[in-house]
Symmetry: C4
């Protein structure tokens, strides 16, 4: 018979694998947005340069999803048990993860047009909802150390809570800002991505 | 040499991984249905609002597949051995799982048109077939406890059988209903999804 | 330090996972070929019925890939070690696996047209090449029991060799037949699929 | 409590699985570029023959990604620990991996046109960047044996470094060459692929 601990590790591993598969697909699907730009009769090089927004959107989406993957990976070094509610919250999280390539490409196409503010509002709105679910998931797993590993200290948990709280506050600000300046809103969002890239990389 | 038990765990794990990959992939492909709505010259915000049916279909498909994943996951906490017939039945199940995004988008596009009843019939028909295979799979695995884990009791198995039997009965009713009212049929199907979301979440 | 046996199991598991992921994606991508048939102004039901070939192609591809997955799974219950040449052969196998949905949809679109024979030739040609690689892979792994598990007997290995040899012979016949009758060629191929579905299911 | 070694193996396994999923997905997506060629009224066979460039691009991309997978697999037989920086570098690597199908299809479409040199420049440029990241990743993991397994010798590590260094040098040459002859540049790149196919296959 399987021990309780082995069962829990297996369950957690299965949810991690499911999550990783979605991250991996979402990051690979991005390439489907690239098109040979010579259909309109332009020389290839000119076409690729004129289509720089597609490449910018690709790189931005790619890096954003990669950073989310790294942070998700980190979170599940602390969360070592799962239950059904966590599975549901984690699933909900991916609803907003898979929307990221769509909202990024909206921003890339419209940032220089009259729709810049609307595109930035959609973009920051998606990240704001994602951040709410992310914090909710962490709050659910960490409150009373419900689903954390035994070796995680109170101090570590609080430190992570503070770090994650940066996201909804910043994305809320970016959403408000988007009504005045789409570009400023997008810059805030990229700055938050940089912040989480750095914390994900140096926190070893 | 590998023990029988270790072999069985490995086999089951491989089928779970295959199933999870299909779930993860099907759920991520949903995002390909979203399009920038400004092609027709509309402002972005107006276009997104007018295209609410695409988002409704995305969220419905997403949540439906997520709930199926959670219930599949639960089922394989009881089914702890596999054989070839189970692999075939499980494969057949996914034929209807991957059709879900297609039938959902049919319903979303046609629910307000004269094709509402036809779309609801296709939608409920797909779920009815899925429910038949799901129940057949469970029946095959659980009868005489053929492929269940050693610790599963008769009472647990019967309780799950009763719970699963709700699906074909309700979807059958939804199919009949679809000939009279597409909308009523769809509401029944969403209610069944809610039922399974709740049982999947509270049965810890 | 990791033992040799544990290393080999891990390596084999990783190649199985890679293979399973390709099977899972290929089987899920099939759904992208389905389209809402009402664009041309037809009622939904009529459109779906007229488009029966798309559904036939989907089901055929789905079942074919599922049977290949089951047989691949079976083969790797015997092949318990891998080396680089096997990885290359296994990779080559998937070149023909991922072509299956494409050749199936060609057959489905053209079986009633003047291109029926050409489509059947492409279809059977793809399966013939797949069968050559499959037999080559098995021959490489099994000759001198190079990469088989310790518990596999000579008799078992020979029995599997005989079973696999059915494929290139039948697909060769189907290819020849396709020059005279596309339909007859396709029927042979579906009969081979049924043969392997049965052997994969009953050989427990 | 989990031991340090078990934790490290699990972390490495998770990154391998994530990498494999992207490889498997990228290789399967290639098939989406194939189209039924009879739309333009040509007979099927003629259409497929005229569309040989699509098949050539498919096979080239497929084999290239397969070889990268095998080499990545090999590298992670030496790299047995990961940290956050390695995760970031590995993620960056996949940005260029998923671009490979796109740049390959550009080359296939334009190698006989006036855009041949531009297409070859993009193609070799992508591989050059990929090679830089690959060597950077290896350099980071191997310098001072930072993340290598305990049993890897200095001599083995140096031998791999030399082998990997072939890539940026050759791709740099291919990039320079592309300004004079697109075809010559592509031939160099295919020769490098053959080199890595051979070293990946014989180095057992």
């Amino acid at each position: 018979m399987e021990s309780r601990e082995s069962f829990e590790l297996r369950e957690t591993a299965r949810m991690e694998a499911f999550s990783d598969a979605i991250f991996a697909f979402a990051i690979t699907l991005l390439v489907l947005d690239l098109r040979d730009p010579t259909g309109s009769g332009k020389p290839l090089f000119q076409g690729l340069v004129d289509d720089w927004q597609s490449f910018f959107a690709l790189v931005t989406s790619f890096v954003t999803i990669l950073i989310m993957w790294m942070n998700h990976h980190n979170m599940f070094n602390y969360v070592r048990r799962i239950d059904r509610r966590l599975m549901l919250l984690n699933g909900l999280l991916f609803l907003f993860v898979i929307l990221t390539p769509f909202t990024t490409s909206l921003v890339a196409s419209h940032i220089t047009s009259t729709d810049a503010n609307a595109a930035a509002a959609v973009y920051s709105g998606n990240f704001l909802l994602l951040a709410f679910v992310w914090n909710g998931l962490w709050w659910y797993a960490s409150s009373g150390k419900r689903l954390l590993g035994n070796t995680v200290t109170e101090e570590q948990a609080r430190s992570i809570s503070r770090q994650y709280a940066v996201a909804p506050i910043s994305y809320g600000a970016a959403l408000v800002l988007s009504f005045f300046s789409g570009l400023a809103s997008v810059i805030v969002i990229l700055a938050v991505a940089a912040f989480f890239a750095i914390t994900a990389t140096i926190s070893d």
